[in-house]
């Protein structure tokens, strides 16, 4: 047994390095997509202290809007613009109808409100688009769908071009987001609101504008995530459950940290794949991805309750 745990997995990694690279690549792709979903959570939490339970269904709603519009004969890139418009309208509506009347209420009330948004979007989405699995308009958006076959160490490494595209676009989105938050007035306003609500309001930052903005950015992230996941296995309401994979990412990285979301997503994506392939499948019968990320996050929380990159809260009593 000790051999199975401590020696064989590493011997397998060394024995088939091309396969190890494939495992790491698949982990990276999953990880970057987890990170994207987690980013949506973090942005909203930073600016409003709301844990947005609706992030997962926003991914589904954005992807369904995109393919739904295309099914009506609208050209692909116009669909992207129109979908962004829909996500903006959704952000404004959520701020006006749900959040504004609840300003000043305890966090749990706002959290419950996002559960309400989730249930509404599920029902509304199913009425408008139906529950059938739909094909993502991958090639119509110019995303290549072939595979790149490499032969490292005489082995085989398969890289899907749509996965490469997803990784590149996600990386660009993260860079753009960081630049926006650090280099622009609005970005700094979002950060200020996250750091100290009262102080930010006292210098004239508009809570309503910032909330619309962050929900809209979360909508953009949801659209990119929806395209990336939808290109892998179609667009359906099952995509929503993938959002739950972002929860351990947030626990690991910290709810307020953009860096934490990215590092946490990549760590979980890659570690859960490595564990599943080299330990989970041979020793535990597989399907360890269901719980591994939560176990990892739990272990981190034992030592760093604020997560790896979260802010340590010290309160005087």
């Amino acid at each position: 047994m000790l051999n199975e745990i401590f020696i064989k997995p590493f011997a397998d990694m060394v024995g088939a390095p091309d396969f190890l690279l494939q495992v790491l690549w698949e982990g990276l792709v999953s990880g970057i997509l987890y990170a994207l979903i987690a980013l949506g959570f973090v942005l909203i939490y930073r600016s409003s202290r709301i844990f947005n339970f609706a992030q997962g269904i926003m991914v589904v709603f954005a992807a369904l809007t995109l393919v739904g519009l295309h099914a009506m004969g609208v050209p692909a890139w116009i669909c992207v613009i129109l979908t962004l418009g829909v996500m903006f309208v959704l952000a404004v509506t959520i701020e006006r109808v749900v959040l504004r009347p609840l300003v000043g209420q305890p966090d749990i009330i706002l959290f419950m409100a996002t559960i309400g948004i989730t249930l509404f979007l599920i029902g509304f989405g199913e009425i408008i688009f139906g529950g059938e699995n739909k094909v993502m308009i991958t090639s119509e958006l110019g995303i290549p769908t072939d595979s790149v076959l490499l032969e490292p160490w005489g082995g085989l490494l398969i890289l899907e071009q749509k996965d490469i595209t997803a990784v590149v676009v996600a990386a660009l989105l993260v860079v753009a987001l960081l630049a926006f938050l650090n280099k622009t007035r609005m970005g700094r306003a979002i950060r200020a609101l996250g750091d100290d609500h009262q102080a930010a309001l006292s210098v004239g930052i508009s809570l309503q504008t910032i909330w619309v903005l962050v929900w809209f950015i979360a909508g953009i992230i949801a659209l990119v995530t929806g395209i990336a996941w939808g290109a892998r296995a179609g667009v359906s309401f099952a995509l929503e459950v993938i959002a739950y994979k972002a929860l351990p990412v947030l626990m690991l990285g910290g709810l307020e940290s953009i860096t934490g979301a990215i590092v946490g997503g990549l760590m979980i994506g890659m570690l859960e794949k490595l564990f599943e392939i080299y330990w989970g499948q041979p020793l535990l019968g597989g399907n360890t991805e269901t719980w591994f990320a939560f176990m990892l996050a739990l272990i981190v929380l034992l030592f760093r309750p604020q997560g790896l990159f979260g802010e340590r809260i010290i309160e005087r009593v």
Partner: protein, 430 residues
């Protein structure tokens, strides 16, 4: 928007009809799942089921002159909601159609007490076939063990399975695990290596780890026990991993046209076992066109109606309607009770001639049931995806009844002992 308009029209029609003619009649609730992660599988089947009953009402005034009150209770494939739906509908229901192996297992003991037959066509607990133990449960025309047996028989026809490696990619759920006892038994007797690979509910659309395992283990065949979003996830990963599609076979719930449309040509050669098949020339399809499509009374569309799953929905409702018809004829009355329907379902005799009378030739193999045989074990076809649609790739293949009967009897006995005191069907002397 078109979908919305249809739904609104259907809701209005339902409300109108619910308040008048159909308030009384043969109440046959369906614990449907048109929402949630499994909706893609559920919608075409539910549409087929609903349309068949609507057709009987529109064309024949119901069954034996009594209108069918066909109502859906949405479960989203959730076991908890399914049990709630069962409790909500059992007062008036003459049958329960639980629509998930998890829900079936939960309501199975309750139906003994409430004395309502369970109709679980092609799903549920395989030993339900043993009518002497499971008096109130029916899983016509094939059980999951039958399905696994037909797949193994087909693979054996391609070459001896001895020494081969067979991966069993399955949903980590009661449904996905159901054929394992049979496959394990056959792996031992036929000498092949069985490699079970579970897929968690949250991993259905991200099966890269499972397919990395398949790449590493290099199985000769992959048998897929998938439902809903798992099917599309597996097929796209199979294409990506370059697994030979002709060596991948799925259960009947993994043979949905819409799932294969995601990969189109790349899915060519993929196979699925099936106990139903669409027949566009069958008279029933012309009747559906006349009585439902033209007046705009269906939630379906031409593409879906031509598919395997819609056709299966029609067959499922036909089996229920036939059970009602047989019971009405035997008891000499239109309004029947649940126990009378149970008798009807125990005495189905769907011959080629009867299927022709029903306008459904070729859509389901002939089969019959008895008090001891609640499944019928009709046999099934292997369907193959040709890049655009499923075609028949085999003649009718029968399951290994002897091996299955032995296992059914043992597992039924085990279940009854574990749930003692379990009421047996003492009236059955077969």
């Amino acid at each position: 928007m078109k979908h919305f308009t249809r739904l609104a029209a259907a809701a209005a029609l339902g409300a109108l009809m619910g308040g008048t003619a159909l308030a009384e009649g043969l109440y046959t609730p369906n614990l449907a799942y048109r929402t949630g992660p499994f909706a893609a599988t559920g919608i075409p089947i539910m549409n087929g089921q609903k349309d068949y009953m609507e057709l009987l009402n529109a064309r024949d005034g119901g069954i034996g002159g009594v209108p069918v009150d066909f109502e859906e209770c949405e479960t989203g494939y959730s076991t908890e909601k399914g049990v709630e739906c069962y409790e909500k509908t059992k007062g008036r229901a003459i049958v329960t159609q639980p629509w998930s192996t998890g829900i079936t297992l939960q309501v199975l003991p309750k139906t003994n007490v409430d004395e309502i037959p369970i109709l679980a066509p092609g799903y549920g607990f395989s030993p339900m076939a043993d009518g002497k133990v499971f008096k109130w449960a029916f899983n016509t025309p094939l059980s999951y063990w039958d399905g696994a047996s037909i797949i193994l028989e087909y693979l054996s026809q391609q070459g001896d399975l001895k020494g081969k490696k067979v991966a069993f990619l399955h949903l980590d759920h009661p449904f996905g695990k159901e054929p394992l006892p049979y496959l394990e038994m056959k792996a031992e007797s036929q000498g092949f290596e069985l490699l079970p690979i579970p897929v968690g509910l949250k991993e259905m659309q991200n099966q890269s780890a499972q397919w990395l395992q398949i790449r590493r283990e290099r199985p000769d065949y992959v048998i897929m026990w998938g439902w809903g979003a798992m099917n599309a996830g597996a097929i796209t990963e199979a294409v990506k991993t370059k697994f030979p599609m002709e060596n991948m076979l799925g259960v009947w719930w993994a043979g949905h046209d819409a799932d294969l449309n995601l990969v189109g040509e790349a899915g060519k050669g993929y196979k699925s076992v099936s106990w139903s098949f669409p027949n566009p020339d069958a008279p029933i399809m012309a009747d559906l066109q006349k009585y439902l499509v033209e007046p705009g009374n269906t939630l379906s569309n031409p593409e879906e109606m031509a598919g395997v799953f819609y056709s299966r929905g029609l067959v499922i409702s036909m089996m229920l309607a036939e059970g009602i018809h047989v019971a009405q004829a035997h008891f000499g009355k239109g309004e029947i009770s649940p126990s009378e329907l149970r008798w009807g379902l125990e005495n189905l005799n769907l011959t080629e001639e009867r299927l022709a009378e029903l306008g459904m030739t070729g859509m389901v193999p002939p089969f019959s049931t008895s008090c001891a045989n609640h499944t019928g074990h009709s046999g099934g076809w292997i369907l193959e995806w040709d890049g655009a649609k499923f075609t028949k790739a085999s003649d009718l293949i029968m399951p290994d009844s002897a091996a299955i009967a032995e296992l059914e009897e043992a597992k039924a006995k085990e279940y009854a002992e574990a749930n003692a005191p379990w009421p047996m069907n003492d009236d059955c002397k077969m």
